[in-house]
């Protein structure tokens, strides 16, 4: 039981006149004094955005429309980034080398979600995992399906499950989810540098 009313702090003493307001003339509207004051209004809002992705994300999104995953390599550390931002966050240098990645990956870590954040798109519980795409050096988040949630473990090998070719667009949503690809698990020691 949550009690938020007990042991309240002492009421605040506001200096005289600080919050003083001119008296409101309420005579213009009949019976206004008997109406309960409005405290809040709940309003739904939506906005449409035009998104300018920049060069690196454009390269990535154009590739993903062709059912390919393309990362970019930091010229100093050699690490491959997905999704590429066009710059290495470690060296600060532009990532000019594009790297064709695999369409499979490995679970690095995960959690089992019992609250629906997907807007009824997903039965609960579902698994949200950090997935290291083959050929990359930093994991991305993705849904794991086609396996009981309590059988997901770090090291699990996955394939990406895509929308129909006719539905491919410049969006991460091309990958519907990830599912086991049947390969043997990767040892945890091989994943230590990726979390």
């Amino acid at each position: 039981m949550t009690d938020t009313t007990s042991s309240q702090p002492a009421p605040i003493e506001i200096p005289e006149g600080v919050w003083s307001q001119p008296a409101v003339n309420m005579s213009a509207v009949a019976d206004l004094e008997s109406v309960e004051a409005v405290r809040s209004v709940r309003a739904f809002a939506s906005m449409t955005y035009d998104y300018t992705p920049g060069l690196a994300t454009t390269r990535f999104l154009r590739a993903i429309k062709e059912k390919r995953l393309v990362g970019e390599r930091c010229s100093e550390t050699g690490k491959v980034y997905i999704p590429p931002r066009g710059v290495s966050p470690v060296s600060g240098l532009p990532t000019t080398e594009q790297v064709e990645l695999g369409l499979d990956g490995t679970v690095v870590s995960f959690c089992v979600v019992n609250l629906d954040f997907t807007g009824n798109a997903q039965e609960i519980p579902y698994v949200s995992a950090l997935i290291l795409v083959d050929g990359s050096d930093i994991p991305i988040y993705g849904l794991v399906r086609e396996i009981p949630y309590n059988e997901v473990q770090p090291g699990l090998r996955l394939k990406s499950v895509w929308v129909e070719d006719s539905e491919l667009t410049t969006s991460f949503e091309n990958i519907k989810w990830w599912a086991p690809n049947g390969e043997p698990d990767v040892p945890a020691s091989d994943l230590a540098d990726y979390i």
């Binding site: 039981m1 949550t2 009690d3 938020t4 007990s6 042991s7 309240q8 702090p9 605040i12 003493e13 506001i14 200096p15 600080v18 919050w19 405290r39 809040s40 809002a45 998104y51 992705p53 994300t57 999104l61 930091c74 550390t77 690490k79 491959v80 980034y81 999704p83 931002r85 966050p89 470690v90 690095v108 870590s109 995960f110 959690c111 089992v112 979600v113 019992n114 609250l115 954040f117 997907t118 798109a121 997903q122 519980p125 949200s128 995992a129 950090l130 930093i138 991305i140 988040y141 993705g142 849904l143 770090p154 969006s171 991460f172 949503e173 990958i175 945890a188 540098d193 990726y194 979390i195």
Partner: protein, 389 residues
């Protein structure tokens, strides 16, 4: 520290709650401000400059509030600064305020952190779906849970470590009249049996969404001496530090990020602390999910890597332990996001001033306030003491 010593002479908090309702957001800020000024025995006329911090604007849906809230903040005709470091923001904000005094630019600075989560829905603001970005359809807990799982795997911590932290913090909150959650009937079993939201994080191991504001009044040495002479003990700032690191860097350790280690090392060096476990009397750290207590105990250097959970299990971090953590109830009991960092800093100050009320640790002389934010990539910390540095 720089040329000028800095003292905390005023701390003002609102009652934290899910939906404040009876005051507007400007009114909420005024309430915290007047409580801080009352504590400092000042008025807004005494304040030279104002430094504010809150979480990203879309968390409460009020854009660029520093423009429209100038009057409410008491900032008309005065310099005003806003700081942005995600969830750590109001810790960073207090440090910027401190720096304005330390550098000799101003003598008395008011600093305010706030969030009115009831205006919007930060949980969903953190999980909106953008087709051109990677898909994290799991909210804030879904971001951090895989790293907590990794911590458990690395440390072999017992499953119920998080349960013990949540139970302790929520019971501490019963001693803090400002805390949002006052769960009188909470028990080990009730926490353990609460819904597993993001396995391994249970509902009762998760911070609430709160409305609230906190304000601090900081002064130079003369202001601190004057307060002390009038019998109002100041908290002296012994060290401040913030650090950040790129969120998305290959090879980054997100279980114990380097920026957190560096920030702690820096603030302890400034404060002359070589053995934090011995020299720090009380800690207010940013623990939005219970498992972050043992994780931060290691990251901050209070415990060897892989052993932070032992301090929790041994009762070291309880109010009667030798390193009490989050006597106020912490973020697990109160989370107005953009205020949560400064609440840690303010509670640390209250402890060394001997003004923490029922959750006071007797004889606390040195305290650490800690905040983190974003994808665990922003850190802000200060050490405050009862004695002058």
């Amino acid at each position: 520290m720089g040329a000028e010593r800095v003292a905390v002479v005023g701390v003002g908090q609102t009652k934290y709650t899910a939906v404040r309702g009876d005051v507007s957001l400007p009114g909420l800020l005024r309430e915290a401000t007047f409580r801080a000024l009352e504590d400092a025995q000042m008025t807004l006329a005494d304040i030279d400059a104002i430094v504010i911090g809150k979480a990203p604007d879309f968390f409460e849906g009020i854009m660029v509030p520093e423009y429209s809230f100038v009057e409410a903040l008491g900032a008309v005709g005065k310099p005003i600064f806003r700081v942005h470091t995600a969830g750590s923001v109001s810790g960073s904000t207090a440090i910027v305020a401190s720096g304005l005094i330390e550098s000799g630019v101003h003598e008395r600075v008011l600093t305010i952190g706030w969030e009115m989560q009831s205006c919007s829905e930060a949980m969903w603001a953190l999980s909106f779906n953008m087709p051109f970005q990677q898909q994290l359809v799991a909210g804030a807990g879904g971001y951090f849970a895989p790293y907590i799982r990794q911590y458990i795997a690395r440390s072999n911590a017992p499953d119920d470590t998080g349960v013990l932290v949540a139970l302790k913090d929520r019971q501490n909150a019963l001693k803090n009249p400002y805390a949002h959650l006052h769960e009188h009937d909470i028990s080990y079993e009730s926490v353990k049996e609460s819904l597993m939201l993001w396995d391994p994080i249970r509902y009762s191991e998760t911070c609430p969404s709160s409305d609230g504001a906190i304000a601090l009044v900081l002064t130079n040495e003369a202001g601190g001496d004057a307060a002390a002479a009038e019998g109002r003990p100041p908290a002296w700032v012994h060290g401040t530090s913030f650090r950040s690191e790129p969120a998305m860097a290959a090879g980054r350790d997100q279980v114990s990020p380097q920026a957190g280690k560096d920030c702690a090392a820096d603030v302890f060096r400034q404060a002359g602390i070589t053995n934090p476990r011995e020299q720090i009397d009380v800690v207010e750290m940013y623990v939005p999910f219970s498992w972050y207590e043992p994780m931060w105990l290691e990251n901050l250097g209070f415990a060897e890597e892989g052993t932070g959970w032992q301090l929790t299990h041994d009762g070291v971090t309880a109010m009667d332990g030798d390193l009490p953590v989050n006597c106020s109830g912490g973020v697990l009991s109160t989370n107005p996001i953009g205020a949560s960092g400064m609440i840690r800093f303010g509670e640390a100050a209250l402890q060394v001033r001997g003004m923490a009320g029922e959750h006071q640790i007797d004889g606390a002389r040195t305290a650490l306030g800690h905040a983190y934010g974003g994808a665990a990539q922003f850190y802000a910390m200060w050490v405050v003491g009862a004695d002058k540095p």
